[in-house]
């Protein structure tokens, strides 16, 4: 369930705002996919004329853009054009790496900032010049951030983006912040009623759009978890049963000399729990390293950069839950062998031996 939670968390990018896109655009959380463009000034002014609008930010938000002539869909990259007086809306207080460089000004005709992961992948540094769609652009800053989305972004002034990607006077997203006392739902309805060619999505609606996919993922997850649970249970039960049957004589001797039933049960259960403790600890270590490696491969962020944030990738609560689940499965798997051990009688063992 962890990664579906992460997907849901992506919506924080436009948290508390209505996202306006053209009809037909699919929105996966904060990312618009497909659909058409919106006339920037017309749409912006129409939205502003609606009651309850505090602020609008027109954006050109493009996915998997061509860098150096090659389209690179995975790991994904994004290009965002944003009016420069509203940088903080997208990047917040994100600093530039090494405090070198600056954010492009409105007048700049070729200045951009790039996400750290994208920059590292292509060997870009402050001052590097790159070619996008035939335009020579200069990197004037590298975003120092751990946010996966920003790490894979090229951010430039909106005007420059419209020029580079050849969408003059067009945007594909307008985010709208409701005034105090106005709900996202009402504002979205008003926008849809007043502007026929747009779709306005509240935060909840954006979440709902992805919900069927997430539900399906969660169902698969549940199936996988059940299968792993049953397999682990069978495995632990088999290992413990083998261990018990190898020591049948010892358990029979314990019974013969009068060991209480609980003593034998406890002995086997503690062994099973120990398998869980050791297995759980090793599983967490190797599982976390595996998760980091996969995350690094997918996002192209170096493992070393991920490592300090291991508890963000695999949170301590999640680790504890997994650890306890493993120990619980092992204890459960130890019940039947423990009962079998406690029922071993010396008379039966001797009869079997002679």
């Amino acid at each position: 369930m962890r990664y579906t939670t992460v997907i849901r968390e992506i919506s924080v990018l436009f948290n508390g705002q209505v996202m306006v896109v053209s009809n037909g655009t699919i929105v996966v959380q904060a990312v618009p996919i497909g659909g058409g463009m919106l006339p920037q000034n017309l749409t912006d002014s129409k939205i502003r004329s609606i009651m309850g609008v505090e602020r609008t930010v027109p954006l050109l938000f493009l996915t998997s853009v061509s860098i150096g002539g090659a389209i690179q869909p995975v790991p994904g990259n994004f290009s965002i054009g944003i009016p420069v007086d509203r940088w903080s809306f997208i990047i917040g207080p994100t600093p530039l790496r090494g405090n070198a460089g600056h954010f492009p000004s409105n007048e700049s005709s070729n200045e951009i900032v790039a996400g750290a992961s994208l920059a590292d992948e292509h060997g870009w540094i402050f001052g590097t010049r790159i070619v996008v769609n035939g335009y020579q652009l200069e990197i004037v800053g590298i975003l120092d951030t751990r946010l996966a989305l920003l790490n894979r972004c090229i951010i430039m002034p909106l005007k420059l983006a419209q020029q580079v990607y050849n969408y003059p006077e067009s945007v594909n997203v307008v985010t709208v912040k409701p005034s105090q006392g106005y709900s996202q739902r009402n504002l979205a309805e008003m926008i849809k009623v007043n502007i026929s060619y747009v779709n306005a999505l509240t935060e909840d609606e954006r979440n709902d759009m992805i919900q069927p996919v997430l539900s399906q993922i969660e169902t698969w997850n549940l199936g996988l978890e059940t299968a792993i649970f049953v397999l682990s249970l069978i495995l632990v039960m088999t290992v413990t049963t083998m261990s018990v049957s190898e020591r049948r004589r010892d358990f029979a001797t314990l019974d013969a000399i009068g060991a209480p039933l609980g003593y034998v049960l406890k002995l086997v259960m503690v062994e099973a729990a120990l398998i869980g403790v050791v297995g759980g600890a090793l599983g967490l270590i190797f599982g976390s390293l595996g998760a980091l490696t996969l995350a690094s491969l997918y996002t192209n962020i170096p493992v070393a950069q991920f490592f300090p944030s291991i508890f963000e990738v695999v949170p301590p609560l999640y680790m504890s839950e997994m650890f306890l689940a493993v120990v619980a499965v092992c204890c459960l798997g130890g019940v039947v062998p423990a009962m079998s051990a406690a029922r071993t009688r010396i008379a039966e063992v001797l009869r079997a031996e002679y």
Binding site: R249, T253, D255, I257, A259, R345, I346, L350, Y354
Partner: protein
């Protein structure tokens, strides 16, 4: 401890046939004697000892301990008798391989909840008595067969039981070591006043035992 068997019968089903391992056995022992149960392999010696030691239950008849019918006891009461009033010595020693000699002897005391320092002190004394005072930290694998059986005898004595039940304790030993073990059990019977019931093939027992029960086809005869 007074032990009485009344019409004690134990049958086993092997495939479609039934084997009567112990057949209507009656006896009464009320003194700390050295009792030998002799008979050929498969004659029912071990089955009889398992019944006396409350490790098995008869199909018919009963065992009375101090006139109390043991068939009426709960599983935990039977365990308690085995733990506190009986000591067991097996043909194959049945020591715990992961424990050393001292820990093997301490185990019954630990199960009985005796204090740790008492366990250590008594286990050390018992191992010294059986001549293994210098082998305390050795694991069973590091001991000879005779030494392992001595540890087993010390373990049987750990909770100061009233009866020692020994099932062919010399079966795996060479002649000299077997003699030592028989002497050891005989000493325990005479010096410590413990009832010793020993199943054996060993003919040397004839001159030592106070009573010899011969078992043949499950039937017992006092010689």
């Amino acid at each position: 401890m007074k032990i009485k068997a009344e019409e004690l019968t134990r049958r086993f089903r092997v495939g479609s046939s039934e084997i009567v391992a112990v057949d209507r056995v009656n006896f009464e022992i009320d003194e700390p004697k050295f009792i030998a149960i002799v008979g050929r392999s498969g004659s029912g010696k071990s089955t009889l000892l398992n019944l006396i030691g409350l490790n098995d239950s008869p199909n018919f008849g009963k065992i009375l301990i101090d006139d109390a019918d043991t068939s009426l006891l709960s599983s935990s009461q039977r365990r308690e008798i085995r733990l506190l009033r009986m000591g067991f010595v097996f043909q194959t020693f049945n020591l715990f391989p992961t424990l050393n000699a001292l820990e093997n002897v301490e185990l019954p005391m630990a199960l009985a909840g005796k204090p740790r320092d008492l366990q250590r002190k008594k286990a050390t004394t018992l191992l010294e008595v059986v001549g293994l005072g210098n082998r305390l930290p050795h694991r069973p694998k590091q001991l000879s067969m005779g030494e392992m059986q001595r540890v087993a005898v010390a373990r049987a004595m750990a909770n100061n039981p009233e009866i020692i039940i020994a099932d062919e304790p010399t079966g795996e030993l060479d002649s000299g070591t077997a003699k030592e073990i028989i002497t050891l059990l005989h000493d325990i019977n005479k010096k410590d006043r413990k009832l010793v019931i020993m199943a054996t093939h060993d003919e040397r027992i004839i001159g030592i035992a106070d009573a010899i029960y011969t078992i043949q086809d499950g039937r017992v005869r006092l010689d």
